[in-house]
């Protein structure tokens, strides 16, 4: 069969569009999978913090006051992620490198705020995810202060999180109750 050169060009254009779309879809799949994994890790982390609180109450340490016990026993973070931003912050808090942790929290906060100003994607779920990340940073900062023994500062931060009625409101309320 005689091959018409114009036909080939049109077919090639279709194949090029196909390749472009496939590569783009695969990248989007990876992004969506990473987001889902991050959300799952966040839920696991929250559950572990809540479980640690329950354990403390059950062991009779129901009142967490400005006391070395809160520094020593504190809140246990699960060893969730070594690569993600929240994993780095958790590791720093776990190893009591509080200054470094707060610096990381602040720089991450700035990055996210920048992204919210000029988001890479218009997807509302993506923007919600970014806002949840901001709330998570606030919550981790409060936990850090609590572990550091900065009781009053932590309580003020947790009250703000609880009253904002965001993703971590219930967890903040739970911690506040244990601090009474």
């Amino acid at each position: 069969m005689r091959i018409d050169k114009d036909d080939i060009e049109e077919i090639l254009e279709m194949a090029i569009r196909e390749r472009g779309a496939m590569e783009r879809m695969e990248a989007l799949d990876r992004q969506m999978d990473a987001r889902a994994l991050a959300a799952k890790r966040r839920r696991n982390w929250i559950a572990s913090v809540a479980a640690a609180c329950v354990l403390l109450v059950a062991c009779g340490d129901a009142t967490l006051k400005l006391h070395t016990r809160s520094v020593g026993n504190g809140y246990e973070f699960t060893d969730i992620s070594r690569g993600a931003r929240s994993g780095r912050i958790e590791n720093l808090l776990n190893s009591k490198e509080f200054s470094a942790a707060y610096k990381e929290i602040q720089s991450t906060r700035e990055e996210i705020r920048e992204e919210l100003q000029h988001p890479s994607y218009d997807d509302p779920d993506y923007l919600t995810h970014l806002n949840t990340d901001l709330q998570e940073l606030d919550f981790m900062e409060a936990i850090g202060h609590l572990r550091q023994g900065k009781f009053f500062k932590a309580r003020k931060e947790l009250k703000a999180i609880a009253s904002a009625e965001g993703t971590f409101a219930k967890d903040a309320e739970s911690l506040l109750r244990n601090m009474l």
Partner: protein, 194 residues
């Protein structure tokens, strides 16, 4: 912002990203229930129906204003089901150009391009050769051709992105890459007797 499909027709690939992320999970959930397809095959099926939508936007089969946002999900599901049934009929995995010629959601005119009368016995092999040639393109042609034909960038935009002197240089480079690819594919067809 505008209707997603209209933005895709105008070449806004971020609209394609938005559409993909918005409809992937709900459409896959429905397809899984209605076709029984799961796992990687389900993702492939979703990819195929999204590709069909994209190709129909590029070819003009879907016109601006003809597919509002509230109809996109139904369109994707219908297209995916047709692809699934066509795959069963042809007893192979969900090909990108495998819908029957008379199907309203047919993703392009590729079969018409290659068919002799109503059928070209070698069209599947030709498609595969074309696909292989495109996926094996080397730099900078792969990027240049994607910028031009997938992202629909102008020659001036390509020149700016790639650091060329001006749009004419970019146009020339893109043209040379397409010619190189065409010559390769024609050579392959002749070599294989297609």
């Amino acid at each position: 912002m505008g209707n997603l499909v209209d933005r895709i027709i105008k070449g806004d690939m971020r609209a394609f990203d938005d559409l993909y992320m918005k409809y992937k999970l709900p459409v896959m959930a429905i397809l899984s229930k209605s076709t029984g397809v799961k796992g990687d095959d389900l993702i492939d099926l979703f990819h195929s129906c999204t590709l069909a939508l994209l190709e129909n936007c590029a070819s003009g089969r879907i016109k601006e204003g003809s597919l509002p946002d509230y109809n996109i999900r139904a369109y994707l599901i219908r297209t995916a089901r047709n692809i699934f049934l066509a795959g069963i009929r042809k007893k192979e995995r969900y090909g990108k150009f495998m819908l029957p010629l008379d199907d309203p959601d047919y993703p392009g005119d590729i079969e018409k391009q290659l068919a002799v009368d109503t059928a070209d016995p070698n069209y599947e092999e030709k498609i595969e050769q074309v696909r292989e040639a495109v996926w094996n393109m080397e730099a900078p042609c792969d990027e240049l051709l994607m910028l031009r034909h997938f992202e629909k960038r102008s020659s001036e935009e390509i020149a700016s992105l790639k650091g060329y002197a001006n749009g004419d240089v970019a146009k020339n480079m893109v043209g040379r890459c397409m010619k190189k690819l065409k010559v390769f594919v024609i050579g392959k067809f002749e070599e294989l007797g297609l």
